[in-house]
């Protein structure tokens, strides 16, 4: 459904210093700087997939999204989505996609969301019956019955974001791009929106989710693409991502007697809370879990212990932290 081949985008920016003198100087002379936002990025996404598209700030994920939505022209490379080249067939193409930008509202601030929906109906030329049916279904699903007729400026952030989803999906798009859709929302609103995305995905809509909220990714995405420095550093399933740093466990242990020396292969002390309490990271390829528990219990007597898979946050931090993708290919086989 989505084919991206060697996509590159280079921007020209101008360097300007931080001082007043630099600002004055920049009025006359500006130093040009070429920024390679994307460097020959390639990937494919199938119909009905829900992809987490991650990366640190400035990694190139928004640029990718903007090219895929037909907003920007690339410098080189090819993109084909549902048979369209986004920047060449923009008008026909965007009739089949939707987009939710967490930080840019499509709703009109002073009037109720309902009026914005009706304007979208005109723009997308949605037949009246289909429009009412889709809108009622989504309003019902997101509990917005009494909300859509209130002026947008009076709505809470969560209510507004739910309305943004309806705005983006009234025309039943086949692909939906989500850019930080749950930013600033409370747990309940986040949950409702995640359920909505999940429900729409089950009906066949393909989603590409860009976010810094890893809980969103864990709850929704089956596959994750991570970009850093304009290149893909990871493209595989969530399961593969969890195992990316090896077979590791996160352990929180409390003992009756002081903890023994933990300075041995396979154990990384993340936080020593007291002589009896520590958070550890175990590398199971170097140390067997049952042997670790047995030894610790014999030496210090375990009072309490929790063993969990390594938090996804640590893995992502590791991927983000790399200066540049190294020679070893980080992209594992396709899921």
């Amino acid at each position: 459904m989505i084919k991206v081949d060697k996509l590159s985008k280079t921007y020209t920016t101008y360097e300007r210093g931080g001082t007043f003198r630099d600002a004055l100087k920049s009025l006359v002379i500006r130093k040009k700087k070429m920024v390679e936002a994307l460097k020959e990025v390639s990937f494919e996404i199938g119909e009905g997939e829900l992809i987490g598209f991650l990366g640190p700030n400035g990694a190139g994920k928004s640029t990718t999204l903007k090219i895929l939505t037909g907003i920007l022209y690339p410098t080189s490379g090819e993109v084909e989505i549902m048979g369209y080249v986004p920047w060449k067939d923009r008008r026909k193409y965007v009739a089949n996609i939707g987009a939710v930008f967490g930080q840019k509202s499509q709703l009109l601030f002073d009037i109720p969301p309902m009026d914005s929906f009706l304007l979208n109906q005109s723009i997308y030329n949605i037949p009246e019956q289909a429009f009412r049916k889709t809108m009622n279904e989504m309003v019902d699903m997101l509990d917005l019955e009494n909300i859509v007729r209130k002026p947008t400026r009076q709505l809470s952030l969560g209510e507004r974001m739910k309305c943004e989803f309806i705005m983006a999906m009234l025309h039943r798009p086949k692909v939906v791009f989500l850019d930080e859709p749950t930013i600033g929302l409370d747990v309940i609103a986040k949950g409702k929106i995640r359920d909505f995305i999940h429900e729409q995905n089950k009906k066949g809509t393909t989603f590409i989710l860009t976010t810094h909220d890893l809980e969103d990714v864990e709850h929704l995405a089956k596959r994750v693409i991570v970009v850093n420095h304009g290149e893909i550093v990871f493209d595989n399933s969530m399961d593969h991502l969890r195992k990316y740093l090896g077979d590791k466990k996160s352990v929180h242990v409390t003992t009756r007697n002081p903890l023994p020396s933990l300075d041995q292969p396979g154990i990384l002390i993340r936080k020593q809370l007291s002589n009896h309490d520590a958070e550890l990271e175990l590398d199971l390829s170097k140390l067997k879990l049952n042997e670790f528990i047995k030894e610790l219990n014999e030496k210090s007597i375990i009072n309490d212990m929790s063993i969990e898979s390594l938090e996804i946050e640590n893995i992502i931090k590791d991927l983000y932290g790399q200066e540049k993708p190294n020679d070893t290919p980080l992209i594992l086989g396709k899921p």
Binding site: D110, L118, P127, A130, K202
Partner: protein
């Protein structure tokens, strides 16, 4: 997995109406939405419209003062100059609320990064820039223009039909010129981010259209006819209506068409260079 709701896809959502009808349908909807937005603050809405109207009438007031003190524009009676200025205000009164808002809309959206939201709609970016920019308070300009036009017309003896026909044709060209101006400024607003002075420069240049072309020297007359056809905004249509002899009108019309075509090309070329704001 198949969709459970049986709805036509956007490709299937074809209307029987023609593209022009569709264009106007969306435009009217955008206009209604803009009115609704603006009327959320009723006091400000009426006050702004009134102020717009009063500000527009300052130019004609200066004309009245000039003639009151015994001075005049050579070859033009007082009521004739007022008619010219009425035509000029009519042209602005139609252009500003109905399509010139695209300039401000483009400049501010590009600066904020919300121009992206127009590009993800299945309509031409020019259409989206216009329909999301209807400026209801500028209707004050239109009301001012109509009032002045009617007032000046009262002092003019009855005019033959051919004068009205020539006037209408040239008035359409004045709107074409305005639209071309709008295209150039919007295009500049895409690449020259946050530069609201484009608008001010345009307003200052346009003010030359408030006076009869004949009061300027030959070189300037050539410029406002052949280079930037400002004469079409007031002087030429008013002269045609009054049956005055005008020279260079065909050249100005051709220049206006050329201006429009280059404006369209320039606008779309600049859209290609759009860089969006950071994510």
């Amino acid at each position: 997995m198949a969709r459970t709701v049986d709805l036509p896809s956007p490709d299937e959502q074809k209307s029987n109406a023609g593209p022009l009808f569709q264009w106007f349908k969306i435009y009217i909807h955008g206009m209604k939405t803009a009115f609704a937005s603006r009327m959320a603050y009723r006091g400000d809405f009426f006050m702004s419209m009134f102020i717009m109207m009063v500000v527009e009438l300052f130019g004609p007031l200066v004309t009245l003062l000039i003639y009151h003190n015994g001075a005049s524009f050579p070859g033009w009676e007082r009521h004739e100059v007022l008619l010219l200025q009425g035509v000029f205000l009519l042209s602005r009164g139609i252009a500003f609320p109905f399509f010139m808002g695209m300039v401000w809309n483009t400049i501010s959206r590009v600066q904020e990064g919300t121009y992206d939201l127009l590009l993800i709609k299945p309509r031409s970016i020019l259409q989206m820039s216009i329909i999301t920019a209807f400026d209801s308070e500028d209707l004050g300009k239109l009301i001012g223009g109509i009032l002045l036009f009617i007032y000046a017309l009262k002092s003019v003896p009855s005019l033959p039909l051919v004068n009205w026909a020539s006037f209408l044709l040239l008035f359409i060209f004045s709107l074409i010129t305005m639209f071309a101006f709008g295209l150039f400024m919007s295009g500049l607003g895409i690449v020259w981010i946050g530069n609201y002075r484009i608008y001010d420069i345009f307003m200052s240049v346009m003010d030359f259209g408030l006076y009869p072309r004949s009061i300027f020297n030959k070189l300037f007359q050539t410029i406002i006819t052949w280079v930037i056809p400002i004469s079409l905004l007031g002087s030429f249509p008013a002269s045609a209506l009054l049956g005055k002899q005008i020279t260079g009108v065909l050249g100005a019309m051709l220049c206006s068409i050329f201006f429009l075509l280059v404006g369209l090309w320039f606008f779309h070329r600049m859209v290609r260079n759009y860089t969006s704001a950071g994510g």
